[in-house]
Amino acid sequence: MDPSEKDQRTDHHIITNDEKINENGEVNEAINLKDSPGRQKLRSWLNRRLWIKMTDGRILIGSFLCTDRDANIILGLCAEYLSDNLDLEARTLGLVMVPGRHIVSIHLDV
């Protein structure tokens, strides 16, 4: 992590300190800890479409819903393709969790 990023982080501490409460009535921890730039970035990607290549070569495309420290990713409305060539029929999977250790690459739809 370079020093400029660290600066950003301290800046960030000052800017956001509002507390949000999630649907369960618990204080949202992530926000309580004051969003770091990484969190901010991830948060900005939420609900956007991700293209994930898995270790066995399959491609999963779905909406990014959730992740954790081990890069386990939950995708909503997910479709599975057998290869990069998306001409082949997709298989609809719905909600899936991709374990981080099986992820080869991640693309973001911009």
């Binding site: 730039p37 409305l77 298989r91 969790m97 991640i106």
Partner: protein, 729 residues
């Protein structure tokens, strides 16, 4: 609710953006390293998600790369080139003509293995339709294989229809959905199919006529024989299914079936003998290994939440299964000789006891009631029930020469009652067609209907009673229909409690009140209901005689009848024996409790009262017999354990138990002397073994054997599904 709104939101979100990468290939940006960097800032266990996304939703996600959940994973293993039927045929991966006999035999046997696996609860796409030849039989040039495939389509259609019609299946029994959009051949009619199969069969038969003169082991001869047996069996199996499934002329069809079924068995024996003629028959694999089968062909067509891995039965096991299936069919056809409703009901219950497969269970249903309320399609269920009630307890109103029914109101009343009975009893028959675990579930819900029917029966009785007393020959009519319905209620209650043993639902420390309830109430009530019916019948006989003598026809016949044994003697004896057996168990269990031989749950987590009420909860909707609550149970059983607040010893309990088992033995012996039918003889022999052993064990215990040992006794259900043999470790 949150989930659906969330989904909607997501789908809206996705609609905005192109779904295919092709259209938007430029817009994807690689964020792999950025992503992995970003997540490293997260804490252990911290989840980053939208406010609308909760852990609840996360739970239902399919985990990728988990072999149990991820069906797509298997597709990518090894050779991932999957040919469709036409691709395979074009590229020469599968033949369409010039098959060797071994190849066809292999394909046929493997197809049966798939059918059997389907019947055991797997879905069609992962079993039968992994056979590429079945995807489109028309281009197959080999006549034998083509017609076999066409007939398999017909067979599957017939089986599906029959199971769905009987509707005694649950998801664990049968998968009716077909994934992959296959169509079953329907352009060839039943007659044509059978005629064409017969033609092939005859050709093969001719070839087998030329017996090899010198060498018995002639290969060609054996191949032809093997093929002949398979084609003939397939044809007959299809015939049997169509005949048993037909709604018209059922009794004659069933007679024809019995003959065809015994031919089926013969052919199956031949098939089993020649199983090694098939290609690669000696290899053991999880899935057919012969040409034309691809276990993965439909994998990508399956919905994401399906059981993943389907292991197909080995060919030999499948053929043995088919042989058992044919035997079950033979058993089903025997139902035609049970014209009396009570014996038919017993037949249904007896049939279910061996946990038969879904297909035979369904067939029994549709054979007995091919159309609602028409027994064998020829007799009204209401008439059959009227006959059953008449035979059971001879209600005066149903007897010939009774003029109560000339009263319109009385007739309407009886007719209505019988219609309600018909609805109720057809439900009962249907329940007995379900698998054993589901039966218990459904019976629990049935008690409310029992209560309503009992109530109606009693009202009909008292109405008939009041009419009867006003008529020319007044006869009491109380508790006729009431007893009849009560009898069935009690039997269902006994069945419900006993099924808990069979399904291994009860813990040992619960046994005592289950046996207590059976011993103290249910069997006692049952015996008294049957006894009442018995005396009603005798009374009716006397009445008939009196009538006859009045009309001056003193026949010797009526005198002979008197010497006949009481009609319910055997049933009374059996129930008395069972009552004693339950009593024996109950006393033994109290003894064990006094000796602290039965481990109890940790007292802070346990409440016997709650457990008791839960076990007997379904009975609470009944009025007769009145449900006995836990408080009553404690009141009634306290004296066995304590007297004047002093703890009693276990010996008297064991001795009591001994006495019960001894009594049961005597009663069973008496029952055996009545020459009961074979199935009851078997039942008596099974019970006898339990009774004799337990008698000895309790005798030892009463003598102080292993008195100080706290080792819990073992209850061994291997001799009887409901009544265990007690063993002391």
């Amino acid at each position: 609710m949150a989930e659906t709104s969330h989904d909607q939101e997501l789908s809206e979100l996705c609609d905005e953006k192109p779904t295919s990468l092709q259209e938007s290939s430029e817009s994807w940006v690689n964020v792999t390293s950025e992503f992995f960097e970003a997540i490293s800032e997260l804490e252990l266990g911290e989840l980053l998600h939208d406010e609308l996304f909760g852990l609840f939703e996360a739970m239902s996600a399919i985990e990728m790369m988990d072999p149990k959940m991820d069906a797509g994973m298997l597709c990518n293993r090894g050779n991932n080139k999957h040919y469709t039927f036409h691709q395979a045929a074009l590229s020469g991966v599968i033949k369409l003509s010039n098959f060797t006999a071994a190849e066809i035999i292999g394909i046929i046997d493997s197809t049966y293995a798939c059918i059997v696996s389907w019947l055991e609860g797997h879905n069609l796409a992962q079993t039968v339709f992994t056979n590429l030849y079945l995807h489109d039989p028309n281009p197959i040039e080999d006549r034998t294989l083509k017609m076999f495939c066409v007939t398999v389509h017909k067979i599957i259609e017939e089986i599906k229809e029959c199971i769905i019609r009987a509707s005694v299946y649950e998801e664990e029994d049968f998968q009716s959905v077909m994934y992959g959009g296959y169509k079953l051949q329907s352009d060839i009619t039943e007659q044509k199919t059978i005629a064409m199969m017969r033609e092939i069969e005859e050709d093969l038969h001719k070839k087998t006529r030329v017996k090899p003169s010198v060498d018995e082991m002639d290969d060609e001869y054996n191949d032809n024989l093997a093929l002949y047996a398979r084609i003939r069996f397939t044809k007959m199996f299809y015939q049997v299914l169509t005949m048993m499934g037909r709604k018209e002329q059922l009794p004659t069809n069933l007679q024809a079936c019995q003959r065809i079924l015994s031919n089926c068995s013969e052919m199956l024996q031949l098939m089993i003998k020649t199983i090694n003629r098939g290609d690669k028959a000696d290899e053991i694999t999880d899935h057919p290994n012969v040409m034309g089968f691809d276990p993965m062909i439909n994998q990508r067509q399956l919905p994401p939440t399906l059981p993943r891995y389907t292991k197909i039965r080995p060919r030999i096991e499948a053929l043995v299964y088919m042989d058992d299936l044919i035997n079950r069919f033979k058993n089903v056809t025997k139902i035609t000789s049970y014209t009396n409703f009570h014996s038919a009901l017993d037949f249904f219950m007896e049939f279910s006891r061996s946990s038969p497969c879904i297909l035979s269970r369904s067939l029994l249903q549709i054979v007995y009631l091919p159309t609602p309320n028409r027994v064998f399609g020829v007799q009204n269920l209401t008439d059959v029930l009227k006959e059953a009630a008449r035979n059971f307890i001879a209600p005066p109103v149903l007897m010939p020469k009774n003029n109560l029914l000339q009263n319109h109101q009385a007739k309407d009343c009886i007719d209505n009652f019988l219609v309600h009975c018909a609805n109720f009893f057809s439900t009962l028959l249907q329940i007995s067609g379900h698998n054993r675990a589901r039966q218990r579930d459904r019976i629990a819900y049935l008690f409310e209907n029992f209560a309503a029917l009992q109530d109606e029966a009693e009202r009909v009785d008292s109405y008939m009673h009041s009419l009867s007393l006003k008529s020319d020959c007044p006869r009491p009519h109380l508790a006729c229909f009431g007893t009849w319905i009560l009898y069935h209620t009690l039997r269902a209650m006994v069945m419900y409690l006993l099924s808990g043993f069979e399904l291994e639902l009860y813990s040992v420390h619960e046994y005592h009140y289950i046996f207590w309830y059976l011993y103290e109430f249910l069997y006692g009530w049952l015996v008294s209901a049957i006894t009442r019916a018995d005396s009603f019948i005798m009374e009716q006989d006397l009445h008939n005689e009196a009538q006859k003598s009045k009309s001056g026809k003193k026949s010797s016949k009526s005198k002979k009848r008197k010497t006949l044994p009481r009609p319910y003697y055997l049933e009374i004896l059996m129930n008395q024996a069972l009552q004693n057996i339950c009593g024996g168990f109950y006393k033994a269990l109290v003894g064990f409790q006094i000796d602290e031989k039965i481990p109890l749950p940790e007292s802070q987590f346990d409440c016997e009262g709650v457990r008791y009420e839960h076990r007997l909860y379904p009975f609470s909707s009944l009025i007769t017999p009145p449900p006995v609550n836990y408080k009553k149970f404690i009141e009634m059983t306290h004296h066995l354990r304590y007297r004047n607040n002093e703890k009693l010893t276990s010996e008297p309990q064991y001795l009591e138990g001994c006495r019960h088992f001894h009594q049961a033995k005597t009663v069973l012996e008496r029952a055996l002397e009545l020459n009961p039918p074979q199935n009851i003889v078997n039942e008596i022999n099974d019970l006898m073994k339990v009774v004799k052993t337990n008698f000895v064990v309790l005798k030892l215990l009463a003598g102080g054997h292993k008195k100080d040992s706290k080792e819990p006794p073992i209850f061994d259900f291997s001799s009887h599904q409901h009544f265990p043999i007690i063993k002391l470790p």
